[in-house]
C-alpha cells in the first residue's frame, strides 16, 4: 500500500473532494448521459456522444465522438464496426475496470495492471424472431479478471466484488433497467 498522489493515475485529492462535493449536494450527483444515432444503411449505423448534464449544469465542452456499428458478413453486414452486443461488452468492460480502479484507489491499493475478458451467449433465433423459446438478450455473460498488485488473493477477490458492487453498467444489466422507447411525432 502506498499513499502516492496520483495513485493509479487518479488524483486522490480530487477524487475525495468530488466525493465530498456529491455527498453534501445530492442533487448535483444526478447526471444525464446521452447519445444519438443515425442509420446509414443496412446493418450500419453511427452513434454520436458529446454533451452530458451533471453537477447541476450542461457540459458541452467535449468534441463529438463517433462510433460505427455494423454486423459481420455472416449477419448480413460489412464489418464497418463492432456490432451492438459487442459494444455492450465494451461498456461493461470499461465500467467494471473503472469501478475496480476507483475503489482500489480509495483504499490506497496500488495496482500494476488489470486485464479482463468478456464472453456473452446470444441465441440469434431471438433477434430473428424465429423461435419464441429463444431468449432475445444475452443468456449469460462471463467475465474473467487478471489483477497484478502486491495484495493477497483474498484482496483481489474483494476488488472483483467491489467492481460489481459499484459498476453502473453491471447494475444496469443485472437489474431490470426501465427503457422507455417512443416515436417522436412532429
Amino acid at each position: 500500500m502506498t499513499e502516492k498522489n496520483p495513485l493509479n493515475g487518479i488524483n486522490v485529492e480530487q477524487m475525495f473532494s468530488a466525493i465530498e462535493f456529491f455527498k453534501n449536494q445530492p442533487a448535483l450527483a444526478k447526471f444525464k448521459f446521452r447519445a444519438t444515432n443515425k442509420w446509414i444503411g443496412g446493418t450500419h449505423n453511427q452513434a454520436t456522444v458529446k454533451d452530458f448534464y451533471g453537477a447541476g449544469q450542461e457540459d458541452v465542452s467535449r468534441e463529438a465522438m463517433m462510433f460505427d456499428l455494423d454486423e459481420p458478413p455472416r449477419l448480413c453486414g460489412n464489418n464497418l464496426g463492432a456490432n451492438p452486443v459487442e459494444y455492450l461488452l465494451v461498456a461493461l468492460s470499461g465500467c467494471l475496470t473503472t469501478a475496480m480502479i476507483a475503489h482500489a484507489t480509495a483504499k490506497g491499493i496500488e495496482i500494476r495492471s488489470v486485464e479482463s475478458k468478456y464472453e456473452g451467449d446470444l441465441d440469434l433465433r431471438g433477434f430473428l424472431g424465429i423461435s419464441p423459446d429463444a431468449e432475445v438478450g444475452y443468456e449469460q455473460i462471463r467475465v474473467f479478471f487478471k489483477i497484478d498488485a502486491d495484495i493477497s488473493a483474498d484482496q483481489k477477490e474483494e476488488l472483483v466484488r467491489m467492481a460489481q458492487k459499484y459498476s453502473p453498467v453491471f447494475h444496469s444489466l443485472t437489474k431490470q433497467t426501465p427503457v422507455l422507447v417512443q416515436l417522436e411525432r412532429k
Copy 2:
C-alpha cells in the same frame, strides 16, 4: 412498399436464407460475442473486439477494433474516450436501430431515414458508494425515434415496438442478465 433487393441496404435474399439456415439448425444460431479490456491508467482503459463464435465455427477474419474509454474531467478523467455508461447508450442505439431496420425489411417496408436520441439518468452517489439509497445503474433510459418512410403513424409505432421486441441489447437491459465475474487464478 417496394420489393427491391437490396431493400434498405440489406440483401433480402441473403437475409431470408440466413433465417432459414438458423431455423433449420438451431444449434448454429448459438453465438458467442467477446471483448477484452486493458486498464491504461486512472479512468482510462481500452477495449478490443475481434473474434466471435457463430454458425458452428470461430470467426477470426475481422481486424481488431479498439475502443478507448475514459471519463470527463468532472469525473476525474481526461476525456480520452466516451465513458462506459455512454458506450451502453451507443450499444442500445445500434441495436434498436438494426432490429427496426431488419424487421422493416423483412416486411418489405422501405425506410428513408431513422434517427434516435438516448438519455439515461445516473445518480453518481451509487457509483461512489456514498449512499445506499442511490441506484448504481441507470435509473431510467429514454429513447426517441424519428422515422422517415411512406407509412402511417401506426405503422411507425409498430416499427418502434418491433425494435424493442427483437433488440438483444434492449432485452439485456430490461430483463435481468446473468453476469458472472471471476478472478482468473494462475
